[in-house]
Structures are given as C-alpha cells and as structure tokens.
C-alpha cells in the first residue's frame, strides 16, 4: 500500500503522486507518515521534508505550512513554500540568509517592526541553506 501524497504551495503544485513514506518536521518534532496512518492534522515548522518513492528518497525544504492526513490514505501538505533540495541555489540561499540576519540586527534599533516576521524569515533562510548543503554532501541518489 502506498500513500497518495500531494504537496501544494500558493504558487504551484510541487508533487502529486504515490509515496511509501513521508517524513516531516512538525512543531513537536519530526514525524514519519506510513500508509494507513490515522487521520491527522498538524502544523509544519520550517524544516526538511523527505519522502520515499520506489525506494528512492527525495528531500525538500519546507518553510512551514499544514499537513492533513485523510482517512482515505491521502496526505495533503499545504506548504507556504517548498523546494527540492537539489533546486536550491546555495549561493543565493546564503545571500538571502545574510540579508535576513542583517535585517534582524537593524531591527533591534528600530521600533514598530514586525520582529516575529523577521525572525520567521531568518528561520526559513537558515533552513534552506542547511538543507541545500546537507543534500550536496550526500552521494548521488542511488539505492541509499
């Protein structure tokens, strides 16, 4: 049995197929969904999402969102953004992280700035860099 699995963001549909297992980062920590999981709704943290399809594992960077496991063995992920690790441009991700860090530092001295939003932004940027780097270090995707 496989899980019908869909990741969708406000920009586009990232993935819609069947997968054997999906692991994602929730507020309470990492969970893995296997076929036949009970109906579940959870909130995703910025972090890594990986799924296995035909024995092959894929990595994505997710910047938060929601996941719904339906009783008919369908997992739907409404992500704010989602990117395959191999599609992340490390240099640009680094640059974005530096920008976010800088904005945070400057925000300390200014009032009336949405600090939480900046922090979330930084968190997302750091996450992207981390996942992109992690993926680069791994050997090519064969039967791992």
């Amino acid at each position: 049995m496989k899980i019908k699995f869909k990741i969708i963001t406000p920009e586009r549909e990232i993935f819609s197929e069947e997968a054997e297992q999906i692991t994602m980062m929730t507020r309470d920590g990492e969970i893995t969904i296997l076929p036949g999981h009970i109906p579940l709704i959870t909130v995703l943290q910025p972090g890594e999402l990986r799924y296995k399809k035909d024995g092959e594992e894929k990595f994505l960077a997710i910047s938060g969102g929601f996941a719904e496991m339906r009783p008919d063995n369908t997992l739907i992920i409404l992500a704010d953004t989602a990117e395959y690790a191999e599609h992340i441009d490390i240099e640009r991700a680094e640059a974005a992280r530096e920008r976010a860090e800088k904005a945070m530092k400057e925000a300390r001295n200014v009032e009336g700035i949405d600090y939480a939003a900046l922090q979330a932004q930084l968190e997302r940027a750091v996450n992207r860099v981390k996942i992109a780097k992690k993926y680069r270090k791994l050997p090519p995707m064969v039967n791992r």
């Binding site: 969708i8 709704i41 959870t42 909130v43 739907i76």
Partner: protein, 298 residues
C-alpha cells in the same frame, strides 16, 4: 463638396479617435489580465485544497475548540463585496450587483436585519446608490492583488468580528473566473464553515462521498493547531476570491474594449461608405449643374 461630406468626415475622425482609445485600453487590460489569470490559476489548487481541509475539520471537530467553528442563530450577516475601481468593463459590476442585491434581500427576509456590506473596490458603492443597502466599511482595492499581506487587514477584521459575535454569517460576493470570456457572479458563504460544494473556478476536483466515521488527531494540541490553521485558511479563501475577481475584472474589461473597438471599426466602414456616396453625389451634381449652365447659355 457639400456640408454633408464635411459632417461625415468629422464623425469618421471622432470615431477613429475613440477606437484608438478603446484599442489601447484593450491592450492594457490584456496585459493585466494575463498577470491576474496567472495568479489565480497558480493559487487555485491550493485554495481549493485548503477549503476542503477547512470543511473536513469543521465537520469532524468539536466546535468548542475554536471560536471560528461556532455556529450561532443567524441574526446579522456581512457581505464582502468585491468589485473593481474602474468601470468600462461591460456588465462586470452590474451583474455582481444584481446577484448581491438578490442575496441581501433574501437574507433580510430570513433575519429581518439589514446586511452589512464591506466594500472592496470603488464601483461597489453603487450598491448603496442603486439599492440603498448601507455600507459598513470600505477598503482600498489594489488593481492586481499579488500578495496575501495586501488583504490581511480586511480579512482579519472580518474574522475577528465573526468570532466576537458581531456577525453570525459572512459571505463573499465576487466574480468567479471561468475563462477569458466567461465569468460568473457569485455569493459564497465562508463563515460559518459548512458548505463544501463550492470550489472556486469550478475545476474538477473529484467528489467522493465521505462517510467514514473518524476524528482527526491534532498535533500538537487541538486548540493550538486550530488557532493557527483556521484563520489562515479562511484568509486564504478571501484572498482567492479577490484573485478570482481580479482576473474576471480584467478579462471582462478586455472583452468589453475589444467589442468597442470592433464596433468602432464597423462604424468607420459604414461612415466611409456614406462619405464616398455623398462625395460622388456632390461631384455628379456639380457636373450636371455645369452641363445645365452651358446648355442654358447655348
């Protein structure tokens, strides 16, 4: 050449000028339409899934867990009325106006109170000037909405007022974008959450009967998940209806302007024909006058 040809010539010129303007507006609308349509199509899948999730949660969750889920006897209704800032878009505003008016009258019969209208887009003011429905609030509408942040103040206000009991029912009046030539005015209820049949844009999500007996497990705690999930998903719905309206508006305007340009073109053709006829008649008349004069002299 007589006075007649001069008048016709003037008309040809003026119709030609109008045509230039409508043509230009058509092209501008076409560009805006392309952008708006790309936006709306990109988010539609997400919005429809979010709506499905909302309905799932609302059906299967204890309403006491979050104020958005509460259902009260309906005494006061609010309608978010989404139109455009500008006219010249054919029947775009008037069709929605009609639809909304019907809805409001219907609701008034049921509740006995006047529905509050929250306006988005200047053209919507006609709901007051035509039908005398009072406007409770007006928000600025951006020509092409591209970010959720742009509509958050409005969406948050509505959700807050539903939760604190000011409104017992909230609906959105918008124009659903089906295709460049077809847009359907609609009034969709978003709060309380109950209807599942209304997917935006009517694209075919397969509908299966859900008769499982189950309850969702929430991680972390239900109240915590719901307080993050529900407002966000409702906001998403409002956002999507605005995108639908944007796409519809610009499509409607483009079509209206295209029709106007075509009509101007036809008119110019007709006028040219008349002009040539009048010119020819003038020349013929002149020659016959000369001939007649010579004959008289002879």
């Amino acid at each position: 050449m007589g006075v007649n040809t001069k008048a016709i010539k003037r008309r040809i010129k003026s119709v030609g000028n109008t045509k230039k303007i409508t043509k230009a507006m058509e092209m501008i609308s076409a560009v805006k339409m392309r952008k708006a349509v790309a936006n709306v199509l990109a988010t539609r899948g997400y919005a429809n899934l979010a709506w499905a999730m909302l309905v799932d949660v609302a059906k299967k969750t204890n309403a006491a867990l979050h104020p958005i889920l509460t259902k009260r006897p309906i005494k006061k209704v609010a309608v978010i009325f989404i139109t455009s800032n500008r006219g010249l878009s054919g029947g775009f505003t008037s069709r929605l106006l009609q639809e909304t008016n019907d809805y409001i009258i219907e609701e008034k019969k049921k509740t006995g109170t006047e529905t509050d209208i929250i306006l988005l887009g200047k053209r919507g003011r006609k709901i007051f000037s035509y039908f005398k429905h009072p406007i409770a609030a007006e928000f600025e509408k951006i020509d092409i909405t591209t970010k959720m942040e742009e509509i958050l103040p409005m969406a948050r206000m509505i959700i807050a007022e539903y939760m604190n009991g000011k409104y017992d029912k909230v609906a959105v009046a918008y124009t659903d974008f089906v295709s460049a030539i077809k847009q359907i005015p609609r009034v969709k209820q978003i709060l309380p959450l109950e209807k599942e049949d209304e997917l935006l844009g009517k694209i075919g999500e397969e509908k299966e009967e859900k008769k499982y007996n189950f309850e969702f497990k929430f991680e972390p705690k239900p109240a915590e998940v719901l307080s993050m999930l529900l407002p966000r998903l409702v906001e998403m719905q409002i956002y999507q209806t605005i995108l639908e309206s944007d796409a519809s508006e610009h499509s409607a305007r483009m079509m209206a302007m295209r029709n106007a340009s075509d009509a101007a073109e036809d008119m110019i053709k007709e006028l040219n024909y008349n002009f040539n006829k009048a010119r020819q008649a003038g020349i013929t008349q002149e020659i016959s006058e000369i001939v007649g004069g010579v004959a008289a002299l002879g």
